[in-house]
Symmetry: C2
DNA sequence: TTGATAATGTTAACAAAGTTAACATAAGAA
DNA sequence: TTCTTATGTTAACTTTGTTAACATTATCAA
């Protein structure tokens, strides 16, 4: 009878892995348990993925894609350059807060090595290209001098770093956003804070 | 004869765990292997630590302490306020780059839960207090208005976020510091970059 | 249709890890 | 000394990642 299993195991496994990661974090994500919960033999996942790292890579790739998509959408919506940088930053942090497990998977140590999973590397590169393009694409790009381009690049890195730092510290619980103000406004405030002013206003 | 082992197992284990973490990362740090490498029975660590998390907590605590110490030293050396913020930031990133494994242990997911290890929580709080004190301690603190204090706090968070983001992205390989310029200068540049200017200079 | 071949499942085994229980010895206090 | 506690040890148990060996299904050319 129903001795063997359906034909769509790969997708079902991935889906299940996704929800396990979301609900319990990577600790709860064991291959055997995943297989059991999917109703499939404990060795079945090896037919569809390159072991545990293979599954993590697949999940990470889809996370990168959602991440990039969100950033792209925001970048496309906001036209004014400065506004776009800020909007991107809040979207970046927003994704991290809404998907802390995926964000940590993408940037943390459990992420499989990029050089062993070319598609994962591509997904990562693509996501960061979105950031960089959106941040550096001042409207008049053609007539920029070399040094201006270098500065633009630096500004992209700086903007990225800020968003990343806020995201990390918030999902880590090190920074607790005040409950009485809007989260995006809080993030915006941190992003915009200018450290060069010697004294707090 | 030498059937049983020395009297100082706890320290030896900690020391060994420290070097394993530095050399191989937390992946290589298994209790059994640690015990074997220390020349002690595989269950011995349980007499001195609260399981694996216990050892990780101990290592994390000492890392936090070194981290805080470094920041404190820098903060004490540089007197001018703005310079101090920047010096702290570079020291922060510097620690991360010099001790990537420890930095990730301190902030990553393998860190044992703070609420289960009060000493760990204390060590963490202390480290961040150093940051915050150093960043917010403008010389004339007494006569600050409430809103000035709030701004100062925000600036501390902003400065912290930036340093943290740079640190994370660099040790993750996402940002590759250019080889042809001084690392500290590179970090300084990122820290000081003012995103509020609409166009790259 | 038939029959070879690849794809996909399964069960069974292995080594390594975290953890605990049961037991042995050392060190110190009474 | 003797009782108690701290510190070791060995031996088990469970879970996990992984692979090997075998079974079933799908695919597709002849």
């Amino acid at each position: 009878m129903a001795k063997y299993h359906h034909g769509d195991v790969r997708n079902v496994l991935l889906q299940k892995a996704e929800t396990i990661l979301t609900d319990e974090g990577p600790t709860g994500l064991s291959l055997r348990r995943l297989a059991r919960m999917t109703g499939v033999s404990e060795a079945a996942p090896y037919r569809h993925f390159d072991g545990k790292d293979g599954i993590l890579a697949a999940v990470a790739i889809s996370a990168f894609e959602r991440f990039a998509q969100k950033l792209e959408d925001v970048a496309a919506t906001v036209t004014k350059h400065e506004d776009r940088i800020m909007a991107l930053g809040t979207a970046y942090v927003g994704f991290a807060i809404e998907n802390p497990q995926h964000f940590r998977l993408i940037f943390g140590r459990e992420r499989p090595p990029l050089d062993q999973y070319p598609e994962l590397r591509d997904a990562a590169d693509n996501a960061f290209d979105v950031v960089q393009r959106a941040v550096t694409s001042v409207d008049r790009k053609a007539d920029m001098t070399l040094s201006q381009a270098a500065t633009a690049y630096n500004r992209a890195l700086a903007a990225w770093s800020r968003a990343h730092g806020i995201a990390m510290l918030v999902i880590d619980g090190m920074i607790v956003p005040p409950a009485d103000i809007n989260l995006d406004d809080f993030v915006l405030g941190l992003l915009a804070e200018d450290l060069n002013h010697p004294e707090p206003a």
